[in-house]
Chain length 373, copies 4
């Protein structure tokens, strides 16, 4: 299970560069600015958030903790963030929505997998359940080649037994950052014995039977029709080029999520922070741009915003929190990032996330941080 969360496609080149590209970009802080209470609140596709960090859609979350998708959605709502609920959730979309307050419903994510009929059905159910935005993921016409899962013989559709699940605990030691604060707060760092038992493999299988019947994933015209059927705020997730960013604008997207699926789909594509400027330049303010992939630190968020993102998505980070302490663990991860962002904005001398711009980072002349070609 640790490998299922941490791993990526092929040789995991992109998993690695998603992180190293952030590290090679320098921040340019300004000192001794007038004190101003740091502001993290911003908006994405017209919706207010109190922190520029959303939780990315991740499938099958109940395999790491019984709180699953509902726990993530509740934690995100409570922290002023937004949970983007995966169409691959191990909980029905209605149950996830119902777990959140009426004024803080999650967003719904639709895989390009699923066929048009399935997509229409899910769009209608999501609208009825009160989801506030629709995110269509376009980088998964087929699943990526995740060799860790092949080696571990992870079954698809996912099911899991207790003996493998409990091994996540020690593996988490490889990510001490997300653990130290839990430890300090006295949170459990061993998984509960009941983990995994809560998953009803049969139900997951049935639930997804209709969703996973792929005939052909929607292309741009079909995506535009889905947008019209949805009617509300609409984002496209999985864009890495200026060309695709322009397609998103053409079909009327309100938001574009620069994402390489956490390095889990096509390996050896650009790091998200390296692809961001090209997309931002192409969009030129006509839609909100978000970044998804490699974000672990408050400084990563600032760099993404400096290069033109309105907000970022975290993925593995909140899954680690969920695995360790369920909903409470997800809240803790968001609070860690909030604390880091507050501190980092103070240290940047620019305590308003909404006005950070490119002067906050040092672009290197050898330029992986490329402009529109």
């Amino acid at each position: 299970l640790f490998d299922f969360v941490a791993g990526g496609a092929d040789d995991e080149v992109t998993v690695t560069t998603n992180r190293t590209a952030f590290a090679s970009l320098s921040l340019r802080p300004r000192m001794a600015s007038e004190y101003m209470k740091p502001n993290l609140a911003t908006s994405v596709v017209g919706q207010a958030i109190s922190i520029p960090v959303l939780t990315a859609p991740c499938g099958f979350l109940r395999i790491v903790h019984p709180d699953g998708e509902a726990g993530v959605a509740r934690a995100a709502a409570a922290e002023g963030s937004v949970s983007i609920v995966s169409a691959m959730a191990a909980t029905s979309l209605e149950d996830v929505a119902a777990a959140t307050p009426a004024d803080a419903r999650p967003w719904f994510q639709l895989y390009a997998l699923g066929g048009i009929a399935g997509a229409d059905q899910l769009v209608d159910r999501a609208r009825s359940a009160g989801y506030r935005a629709l995110v269509i993921t376009v980088d998964t016409p087929v699943p990526g080649n995740r060799e860790r899962d092949v080696r571990n013989a992870i079954p698809m559709p996912l099911s899991v037994n207790l003996s493998s699940a409990v091994r996540l605990g020690p593996s988490m030691l490889a990510h001490p950052r997300w653990l130290y604060r839990f430890i300090r707060d006295g949170m459990p760092t061993k998984l509960p014995n009941t983990l995994g038992l809560a998953i009803d493999g049969a139900r997951i299988t049935q639930e997804h039977a209709t969703r996973l019947m792929v005939t052909d994933p929607p292309a741009w015209p079909a995506i535009e029709r889905i947008r019209r059927r949805w009617g509300g705020p609409f984002l496209v997730k999985g864009v890495l080029t200026a060309e695709d960013a322009r397609r998103c604008l053409d079909i009327g997207a309100d938001g574009i999520v620069v994402s390489n699926h956490g390095g889990r789909q096509l390996d050896s594509v650009a790091a998200t922070i390296d692809a961001l400027p090209e997309v931002v330049d192409a969009v030129d303010g006509r839609a909100d741009v978000l970044l998804d992939g490699g974000v672990e630190r408050g400084t990563d968020v600032i760099k993404a915003v400096a290069l033109g993102a309105k907000a970022v998505l975290i993925g593995r980070a909140h899954v680690w929190g969920l695995a360790v302490a369920g909903e409470r663990g997800v809240s803790e991860v968001l609070r860690i990032l909030r604390d880091e962002l507050v501190r980092d904005l103070r240290l940047m001398g620019h305590p308003d996330i909404t006005t950070i711009d490119r002067s906050a980072v040092q672009l290197r002349s050898d330029g992986p941080h490329r402009s529109n070609p």
Copy 2:
């Protein structure tokens, strides 16, 4: 034996950069394109192949498995690929050709080693045996300095006894990628006990006695004469510069294989993917360009094609397959690459290998991917 296959010349700088240069080149996928069944079929020097991957000529293949060169040729033919049979084969060229269907004969590779008389004799034999193209390797006026072989005291001409051969099995664990799928399919991962016994060292020695008598390897005029004697599709393998690419055009080559011999000849030459654009620019469409060296992934194939190659050659990859499961292992390696290419083309949103161009990759401004000087 593991070292004989995996190793390279001197400090193996080029063995390493052949891989890292691929990793440092980013793909630029386009999303949500209209579904189209991915097409891998293309042609090289006018001959159709169903996958843009050929098996490179490798000498003495029976030392890793009794199926040897004939097994490779059968597997390649069955998979719609082409086997380029080495002049250093441990099986006679007639036997290898006879192992394949009449409409899917392999190509024959001639070392620049061998003297003119020997070359003429081999060319005539290859034509008679039905080989469909001739590849002359020009980067081996002398053997490279492979120190692993010196340390392991590999005898030349090669002979091998069982006790050293059976040690290949565990060494393969260092290349789990080629193993995991075999394991899944229930293939044997230990070499059969009979391995090595099938090799008749004396015969290899005799067989090569005439071929290896080097007086002077053919220079360009002699190569041109060989091409004329051959009469059919003709490729030159081992080119790394624009200057040599122009020589190939001058003598009428139909194809040029950008190759550094897998890092086994002159160490510290450019990675093949870095040398490719210079050759492609110089050729300017007047011949087919292939790439040989460092290819392990479907994404590597796409990058090579994006930079102008019509197809690529694999070397060590199919030898690992042969070592583990003979002909069946070679087929499996080709099928792995085919599966990856189908998946990767879908993920690229450009499901036709024949129309991929430079817009599919991100050239870095600090440019190891150099243009024609």
Copy 3:
């Protein structure tokens, strides 16, 4: 305690690049110049120093050795250097000043922490105690995120017990450079048993009660007022950009310390040697520029001076010396650097630190050593 000294913020990216950026910059020595006794003497903000190396302000130094801040100040004075005494000292500022000769008083460092009233009080006390310059640190509106301290559960305000303190000894073996000479000179390399007992945790707590009451750290106008109240030589520490360098000039600073707080505040800012040219260009001779961060070698000092610094600050280096042998250890560290500088200037063929310029280093065309943007 080792972690408290050695560690940095977040992922310690800047701790690392502070060192690697020095290593990637090449010196250009000139040979066979006329012999001249190497001159290390220079001046900073009008004050003579016999070596272009000052000891940076470090808080709570008595936790590593009972000699603490007074020991550092005495050693610096004896070696012709200057100690910049931290407002976070574990000894009163009057006691530290009194430990030095009247003509070699230290400089006083004021954190931007502390509130205006506290700052005024400290400024007046520092003037009365004879401090010769005031350094205001502007990169600490809030403390950095030092996760080693969180994991080690370092209490704030700092207190320490013997059992943890004595563990510094073996940890020092990770920094053999600062040990080998001590060993040669027969210095103790195990900490004395009394270490840590000398620290009166309660007193530290009380001492800092007023200083640490942060309302809001001073912004530029307040800093200018502090400079006027002080009246003497005035430096701003913690500048990384041309923009802030110009602010320093605007408020009349005599000196600017390019510093990233040893990578202990905002992580992933530029290495100090990479940020230096931008600041030097902006200052254009109107103030003295110093560099603080990553300095461990005489060659580092020469590179910093070559790129426009008048002098550098060391931090961890002298703390290791203090930990091992108290005041005598600090002197030894300064002597090591003096010996290296004398040797390195001879080897540079330019034996006067005051006339080294940019021709002494090789700027790379891919340019982390950036100019004013």
Copy 4:
């Protein structure tokens, strides 16, 4: 003793980059050229050598093997190379010269250390003893900071006892390249028990008493006078910049050795292969340029010659040979390099070392291989 040979100054940054800079420079081989017997013969300062590799001056060679400097000189003469005998030799310069044939006398190297009177005396003795060229080393106004020697408490002047000397054997395993061929040839890889006993420490001390009395090392005017007193071919060793290259031309040097003393003097200067083009451009054919530092392979020699060097010096390489098998080991190292050069020139398709030019290497656009500034 292993550390004494292998080590460098400070953090050994330059020891490392001397090698990595070679590795990052790519060769551009041309294929299928007409066969020509590879020619390694060239000339330096008008003297013929049969291989473009000289043995660099290394001090105290009898500490690694009783054959010492005389053994190196005999081996170099026998192999058609030239030994540059160090003024720090543990054998008198007359004895070393007498060990060689009259028509293959070594060159003599004078340290900038030594004072003018001592220099004059040595120059006269060297001329009388038949040395054929004089090399003055200008990068050693003071010894470098070799911390391995400090830690190992290597005494100066050097003396050694058997117990430490015999430990060189196993250490050599860290350099298997120079061992494998010895092993194949049945050479001893354990040092003889008598090693070290042959060294008469007292005599070394006395011998060097006059040489090492440094008053001031010669500057350019003194070097010019030494050149005039010598009268014969004259080289300056230790140049890294265009400025110093021009000084060498001004004083009438016949040859210039680009050298950083194997990374043993000033650390963090440029790798020799990176500094070479700047010097070659400045010299513009008016003197012979040699390269010393980091050479271990035939390909390194070709790269150096391609960038303008007439020949290279090896240092540690032949000392390893001497340590293992005395004079015979030095010959073996030279033969390994000769074999590599013959093979590499064939593989380059340019079998004449005297006509290799810059088209043989790929200069990178991010350019550590800088031109004259």
